[in-house]
Symmetry: C2
Subunit: 404 residues, 2 copies
Amino acid sequence: MIKLKADYVLTLNEKYEIIKDGEIIFDDKIIEVGKDLDNSLTEIYLGKNSVIMPALINTHTHLEFSSNYTHLEYGDFMNWLNSVLEHREDLFHGCKSECYKSAIKEMKKSGICAFGQISSTGNDLKYLKHSPLKIVYFNEIIGSNPAAVDMIYQDFLARIRESEEVQNEKFKIGLSIHSPYSVHPILMKKVIEIAKNKNLPIQTHFMESKAERKWLENGEGEFKIFFEKHFKNAKPLINPIEFIEQFKDTNTTFIHCVHANENELKRISEIGGYITHCPISNRLLNVGLLNLESVKNFSIPYNVATDGKSSNYSLNLFKEIRAALLMHTDLHPKYLAKDLIKSVTINAAKSLGLNNGSLEKGKDADIITFKLPNKVKNLELLPLQIILHTNKVDNLYINGKEVK
Amino acid sequence: MIKLKADYVLTLNEKYEIIKDGEIIFDDKIIEVGKDLDNSLTEIYLGKNSVIMPALINTHTHLEFSSNYTHLEYGDFMNWLNSVLEHREDLFHGCKSECYKSAIKEMKKSGICAFGQISSTGNDLKYLKHSPLKIVYFNEIIGSNPAAVDMIYQDFLARIRESEEVQNEKFKIGLSIHSPYSVHPILMKKVIEIAKNKNLPIQTHFMESKAERKWLENGEGEFKIFFEKHFKNAKPLINPIEFIEQFKDTNTTFIHCVHANENELKRISEIGGYITHCPISNRLLNVGLLNLESVKNFSIPYNVATDGKSSNYSLNLFKEIRAALLMHTDLHPKYLAKDLIKSVTINAAKSLGLNNGSLEKGKDADIITFKLPNKVKNLELLPLQIILHTNKVDNLYINGKEVK
Ligand SMILES: [Fe+2]
Ligand SMILES: [Fe+2]
């Protein structure tokens, strides 16, 4: 059992309580959070301008692409997609044990205790099964060619079984349907069926680009050219609203949604879906900026994630939410900062179905501590000052154990 | 004399030439730039993925505020302005020799060879006169109370004389008129007169906030409340176009211009003015985002600067242009990246009146070298990849001498 004290304790509970000179007692679970907790434990005071808050959660990344720095073509969604197809294999082969270790190290240093990993091939399993961080390992299905549906599905089932064998308290699994334009509806239904039976979280890329809407709604635009290169007279197989409807009664997170319209946001809200916002990735592919105001107006809890190094230069969540703070110039920085801190803690935990993301009795003791450069008098500005000045943490605890 | 070779040499000349496996020969001035330069000098090859480019120039900062981390009230321009007035003195006193040294160190590490320093009090002179970096030291005048015009002017002349005594090849001076709402027009005219006679560059904050326009155009809004606290029946003393007109036939840079309208941008362009864009500062004070598209449409050369730590968490220019790259989501990242690299080199040199900012024969040998994480096949993407992956430089040369 450990008892820590800091100048500022962010609980991220429902009331978003911030405790000045607060304390927390925990072993693998959080036991108590508050002020002057009368307990015989020797207290560790973390020093001037110290902060204790829930450890961060990076809901969506593609670690298989972590060897990409300058290979892929940024600046345009379709050029990027074509360069991914061109470089996929050498990027996958380029990322071996060291590459996974340094990606995890980068996340750990930035206070991440858990992440959602989209696995395209399953080759990442051997590198991730002993990760010091918690993982929700999303087996991803991709393929819309009717002739290949069975083969794709059998391969997918085999990968699920393999990942199930590795499950432990830090390694959970989820399922990912790559997107509405790249997966056959028959496969979508099967995957959702499995997710319901096994109560697994789902992730799916949705409305990342304008090209996606042009294709799904009228079979036109850049995707038409893209598909015709691979298989003749390809046509869209599902419309956006039908796509969303399928996920009713599941725990599904829609990634990106930059070009989701009000109707689609309403449906996502109605089925209790979550949204993952990847600001840097969206910018590098030049697909624009998610309208966070309307996401909030439809009361959809959103989280922020780094996506993969296929479309990001960093896996550091503090850098990602600082980018979001700078980019959403229509929103007041003080209030946006509060939402952004929530988006990488409690909201992210709900999206991944994890028992952490806030400092409350009974939660997993996933905690980070760090120092601000100076004291913050107005606690309303604490979330903003944390986002401006923090890149690394001093301590990361997962299930109450310090992760070095 | 030194001869360097790198995988990529960005000349920033008129044609924006990028030389693959290029070389540069220099002593205090640049002698030659090109490929396979036949010269008996032993060549230093900087290694795989190495880059040589002009050293960066931070045109606008307020180092007197460098001890601010969390003191000032971000999120709203007027709240911020009031918190600056409240904390000014203890921030100035809080920044002594060490504080100036660490500010300069931070800039040096990020490849800055020269910066424009706005001096509010003159107390910074003793800390800056032996700076390893080039400085254009802008003595700033502020004060709109008619009764105090003479006293303010005499004090201003004394500060100019003091700074003139310190001038050397690395220390130049300039004049700053704080803004159209805070300086009496009589003082403006006198300062412009001096600048013309001594051929000094001028800087002035212009249209940073909506409140500024409401005040200058109809004496209304938050500034009315602000001024009434200090002197009764204050009224605006100049309108925006009159203000710009005064700077005809001078070398003037207008800082911010977030709320400059088309008419005012047109006038700035017609008088050959420059614009300094401070994206992070504008965001922290929640005044919105400069429309770079219209600045370009009026062919006004713009530069990017960090402003002071009074409204920024960093003095690193690579971080500032990366923020600009992320924030201007309406502009294509590949082409914006090219403009942003230009904005902190050749454009910034012109604004400060310095003989550097590009690698061309006869220019001061102000040069930086660093490495990218991987090779870049498509040279069109080199500016973008540099901005994404670079925070620090390996070497900084000023007038051909390496600055450690
Ligand atoms: Fe993704
Ligand atoms: Fe400024």
